[in-house]
Each structure stands twice: as structure tokens, then as C-alpha cells.
């Protein structure tokens, strides 16, 4: 059940920096010297507070942006442009509004030049997987936000890319769909050895899914924690081990926030020393409070 980790590197992220020129002539540094490697077949979750550069990093890996410093290698070669080998699920709603659900999902297959019949067969299977088979003729504007996001996931998956870059893909989904799609993703990784980079704000999700959690922090973003999660699948969300992992990550996040700008995050006081009974484990962005006013 444990994803077989081949020991070849997919991504090498070497001291990557990214500075944006804003419309009003300022410069915003989003990433400051991020380095880590992603092994092929690994499912890596990225967590971190909003604005720390998670999306920016994914976009760099997708080839949608170029780094202003350092480099990103994919199988030894620098990433220069986007390609079908790296499927992306965007944080925003990205369905083509002029295409029906079915036609949205077949888009990538059309680009590959697959026969029509195969396109439809594969697209229908993918739509079924995200539970929207009743809606294949609907247009995006006829769907709710979460439904649109599910179509976007189906659209990325149907292309069968070796690498999946997913930016808070399950953020707008209800709990049961979310759990179901987590298992869909795990099954996919188990069967097809996908390399996945998965941004999420839910630590529970991160611990449930990933072989490894990379914690980004600060502004500009840096890697502040990198944890391997070595638990067999399927993982039990209320097990001691699971909760320990979760709290550990939470501690790392809290510590980094503390180091960064001398502010404390609320949950830290509750965590020190002992394990609280497992409650709702979702990490939320907590308004930083001044430690000593």
C-alpha cells in the first residue's frame, strides 16, 4: 500500500528566488532562496500561511513563470515552458466557460489528437470519478464553485500527466467529497506512480495524503520545515501517530511564525508539552497576535 518510492529525482529546486514587478512600479519578493528536491513517485504537500509563495512556486514548477534567481530542474533539465507532462489544478476557477463540462475535460485529449471515441470514453470515466456524470452537458456557469473545481481536477487527471501540480484543489469542497477525492488521488498515485505537489491549508489533509510535507513560511517565502511522513496507507486519522505528525507540523509552522516577526500563533500555548485529545485538526490562518503588547 505504501507508494513505491523510486530513488530518482523528479524536481530539483535550487535556491529559487522570485521577485515580481507590480503594476505600480514596486517590487515584491515572493520567494527567497527555496531549495528542495522531489523524488519521482512522491506525494509532497506544501503548507504555509497565505502569501508565502506556494502558488508562485507551483507556477514556477509548471513553467508558467521564470525564476529571477536559482533554477528548477525537472529530470535534470531546466523547466522552461508548461507542458502536458505537468498537469496543473489552479487555485482559481479555470474552466473554459464556453465549453461544456465534457468538452472541458476532453480539452487535453483533443490537444493530444486522440480519436474522438477514446476522448469521450476517458473523459466520461474521469467525470464519473469526481461524481459529476449527471452534469456532463452543463456549462461551467451552471455549476457551483465546488463542482467547477471537481471538473478542473477531472480535466487535469484525464490527461494522465506523470506529474500533478495541485493548488488547493480541494479547498472549496465539502468534507465527504474531499475525503473521497483524497482517496482517488492516493489510488492514482499507488497505481501509476505519480509525482504530486499538493498545496493545502488543511494539515489533516497533508498528513493523510503525503509522503512528505514541506512547510513554507515567511514573506518572502522560504522552506521552514521539511518532514517525511512514514506511515502506511490507508492512514487512520485518529491514531496517535497521525495526531503526533499533525501537531508536529503545527509546531513547525508556529515556530516559524514566531521566529519571523516575533509574533505568536494562538495554538502554541495549548500544544507545549502534552498532546491534547484529537479535535478538529484543520490548520487555519490565524491572525498573528503581538506577544507583548
Amino acid at each position: 500500500m505504501i507508494p513505491v518510492t523510486q530513488h530518482s529525482t523528479a524536481f530539483q529546486i535550487v535556491d529559487v528566488k522570485k521577485t515580481f514587478d507590480t503594476a505600480d512600479g514596486r517590487q515584491v519578493q515572493a520567494l527567497d532562496g527555496v531549495s528542495f528536491e522531489v523524488e519521482a513517485g512522491q506525494l509532497v504537500c506544501m503548507v504555509g500561511p497565505t502569501g508565502c509563495g506556494k502558488t508562485t512556486l507551483l507556477r514556477l514548477m509548471a513553467g508558467l513563470e521564470t525564476p529571477t534567481g536559482g533554477q528548477i530542474l525537472l529530470e535534470g533539465k531546466p523547466v522552461v515552458r508548461p507542458g502536458a507532462d505537468r498537469g496543473m489544478v489552479f487555485q482559481q476557477y479555470s474552466l473554459f466557460p464556453w465549453r461544456t463540462v465534457l468538452k472541458n475535460v476532453t480539452f487535453g485529449l483533443e490537444m493530444k489528437g486522440l480519436p474522438k471515441k477514446d476522448q469521450l470514453k476517458r473523459a466520461r470515466r474521469a467525470i464519473q470519478q469526481v461524481g459529476l456524470n449527471k452534469f456532463e452537458k452543463a456549462y461551467p456557469y451552471e455549476l457551483s464553485g465546488g463542482m467547477q473545481q471537481r471538473v478542473a481536477i477531472a480535466r487535469a487527471l484525464v490527461n494522465e500527466p506523470q506529474i500533478l501540480l495541485m493548488d488547493e484543489p480541494y479547498g472549496s469542497l465539502d468534507e465527504s467529497t474531499r475525503l473521497k477525492l483524497q482517496d482517488v488521488l492516493l489510488a492514482l498515485c499507488r497505481d501509476h506512480q505519480k509525482t504530486v505537489l499538493f498545496v493545502t491549508h488543511s494539515l489533516d489533509e497533508a498528513v493523510y495524503l503525503s509522503d512528505r510535507v514541506v512547510v513554507l513560511g515567511g514573506m518572502p517565502g522560504q522552506v521552514v520545515g521539511d518532514l517525511t511522513i512514514d506511515m502506511p496507507h490507508p492512514r487512520e486519522r485518529v491514531s496517535q501517530q497521525f495526531v503526533e505528525c499533525l501537531l508536529h507540523i503545527r509546531q513547525v509552522i508556529a515556530d516559524s511564525a514566531l521566529n519571523d516577526n516575533g509574533v505568536d500563533l494562538v495554538p502554541v500555548q495549548r500544544l507545549n508539552g502534552h498532546l491534547p485529545t484529537p479535535g478538529p485538526c484543520c490548520f487555519q490562518d490565524i491572525e498573528p497576535q503581538r506577544k507583548n503588547p
Binding site: G63, F107, M111, Y139, R155
Partner: protein, 305 residues
């Protein structure tokens, strides 16, 4: 406390009542819709009545004709008017000119718009020129067009002097002027359509394996289509206005615009008014037609949230 269950009889009567209510409600909805359809006709009736009242009061057919002679012309669209052919024939000629001039404008304007919208250098180079040229009123081009195109007609282009068909009435100069009127709204709306394509859609397509030409045809073009359709609607409207004006100028000898100016010269005001009525009707239908076309191609845009 539980409320006492209503007796069977009472229950039945309430059911009947509610179904009656529903039926009434349904009829109210239907009649409201029908009412909304009929309502605009009232304004037409009021306008005609007002016209007639003033015409009777003025009592001078050389200034303000009554409705009867106007209707006389309108009710016989296939009969000759003042020796210049029937109403239908003249409308047909004007419409043909518009369709031809407009089609050329679409065939040239849309590709140019797509090109200018897609590449920055041509855009920077040519778009200011487009904005300058478009301020030259197409009517101002008529003398120029007459000088350049003389009396060349469509059949002349393929080496036929007279085809003895209606095509002999389609002069190239006129088509050029119509083209000029229609092409700028088309180019400008197409450019702004291409510029308005969300970067996110292009990026999505790229991560799904699209590139270059495919992105253009599968993303840029469909995303810009609603704006292109707006351009076509505006362009067609301009062409219809311009054709009437052009037909009224010296050198023209057919078309609904010509019929109007001819009626004026012979002091046949009822012909003039009947012609104006036709212009309004055709313009209205033209706009409606293109509106439905644009709705069917770009319903998604109106509904997008």
C-alpha cells in the same frame, strides 16, 4: 398541541382551491408574457395616430402626408413606385449592398483584428492609425470612392459589361464606402476581445498541452468571440445607415435611399415616409437577427459569474 386534522371534505375543497389558484397564477404568468409582447405595439399605434392627427390638422400632403397614401404604398410592396421599381426591389438592392460590403468588412476586419490583438508590435505600429482612420466618416469617402471606382460594377470585375441583372446596380464605390463604415467597429471590437482574454485560460490550455496555433483557435478565438460579435452588430448597423445616405447622393439611381430622395424631388411625401418606414423595419430586423446570432454564440459570457 396537535391541531385537529381537517375533515376529508374540507381537505378536498382546499386542494381544489389551490389547484384553481395555481391555474390562475399560471394564466396570470402567460397573460403577463403576452402582455409584454403586445405592449411595444401600442407605442407604434400611438405614433401612427399622432402622425395622422397632425397630418389632418396640417392638411398639406406636400409637407406631412396622411397615413392612407403611405399605407397605399406599403400595402403593395411588389408594385412599381414612381417608375423606379417596387419597394421590395429597392429594399433588396440596399440590403444586398450592405450584405456585400459588410461581408468584405468581416472577412478583412476580423483577421486583421485577431492579428493586431495577438501581436504587440503590429498593434503598436498600426492601431493608432486605425483609430485615426476610423474618425473619417464613411460618407466623406463617397466623392473619393466615386473618383477611384468610377462606375465600375460587380459584373465589370469579371469582364462583363452588362449582366442585365440586379448586379449591374451594385457599384464597387458604394461597396467600398460600406466596407469603410463597417470595418472599424469590427477591427476595434475584435482587438479588444483578444486583449480581454483571461491569461488564466491561456495558462490552463498550456498546462493541458496546447501551444501556439492551438491556443489561438481553441482559447483566444472562442474567448474573444462575444466581443467580435458585438463588433459585427455595430458594423452592420453602421453599414445600414451609410447605405441609405450614400444612395441619396448624386450618381446613385436605385435603392431605398434613392427612392426617398426621388420621392422628395417629385414632392411625393407619402413615398418618402413609406421608404423611411421600410428603413426602420429592415434596420430593426437586421439588429435583432445579429443579436440572436451573438446570443447563441456567446451565451456563456452573459451568464459568467
Amino acid at each position: 398541541m396537535l391541531r385537529q386534522a381537517p375533515s376529508r371534505k374540507l381537505l378536498k375543497s382546499t386542494v381544489d382551491l389551490s389547484s384553481l389558484k395555481r391555474w390562475r397564477h399560471k394564466m396570470a404568468v402567460v397573460s403577463k408574457k403576452a402582455w409584454h409582447k403586445i405592449l411595444p405595439l401600442f407605442s407604434v399605434v400611438i405614433l401612427i395616430a399622432l402622425w395622422q392627427a397632425i397630418a389632418v390638422w396640417v392638411n398639406n400632403p406636400f409637407i406631412l402626408p396622411r397615413m392612407e397614401p403611405v399605407w397605399e404604398v406599403l400595402s403593395k410592396p411588389f408594385e412599381d413606385v414612381l417608375g423606379q421599381g417596387s419597394l421590395i426591389y429597392n429594399i433588396f438592392l440596399s440590403a444586398l449592398r450592405v450584405v456585400l460590403g459588410f461581408s468584405v468588412a468581416v472577412l478583412i476586419g476580423v483577421p486583421i483584428g485577431l492579428w493586431l490583438g495577438s501581436y504587440n508590435t503590429p498593434y503598436r505600429m498600426f492601431f493608432p492609425l486605425v483609430e485615426m482612420l476610423r474618425t473619417i466618416c464613411p460618407i466623406a469617402f463617397i466623392p473619393f470612392a466615386m473618383a477611384v471606382f468610377r462606375f465600375y460594377t460587380l459584373p465589370n470585375m469579371v469582364g462583363v459589361r452588362y449582366s442585365n441583372t440586379f448586379l449591374d446596380d451594385v457599384m464597387l464605390g458604394m461597396l467600398f464606402v460600406l466596407f469603410w463604415g463597417a470595418v472599424f467597429p469590427i477591427v476595434i471590437n475584435t482587438v479588444s476581445g483578444v486583449h480581454g482574454v483571461k491569461q488564466l485560460y491561456v495558462e490552463t490550455a498550456e498546462t493541458l498541452g496546447a501551444s501556439g496555433r492551438k491556443i489561438f483557435w481553441k482559447v483566444t478565438y472562442p474567448a474573444a468571440l462575444p466581443s467580435i460579435m458585438t463588433g459585427l452588430r455595430v458594423g452592420a448597423g453602421v453599414a445600414w445607415m451609410v447605405v441609405i445616405a450614400a444612395e441619396m447622393l448624386p450618381g446613385s439611381d436605385s435603392g431605398i435611399g434613392y427612392l426617398i430622395i426621388y420621392g422628395y424631388q417629385l414632392a411625393q411625401m407619402h413615398v418618402l415616409v413609406a421608404g423611411m418606414f421600410c428603413i426602420g423595419l429592415v434596420g430593426f430586423l437586421l439588429n435583432k437577427g445579429l443579436y440572436y446570432l451573438s446570443i447563441t454564440t456567446s451565451r456563456w459570457q452573459a451568464k459568467e459569474r
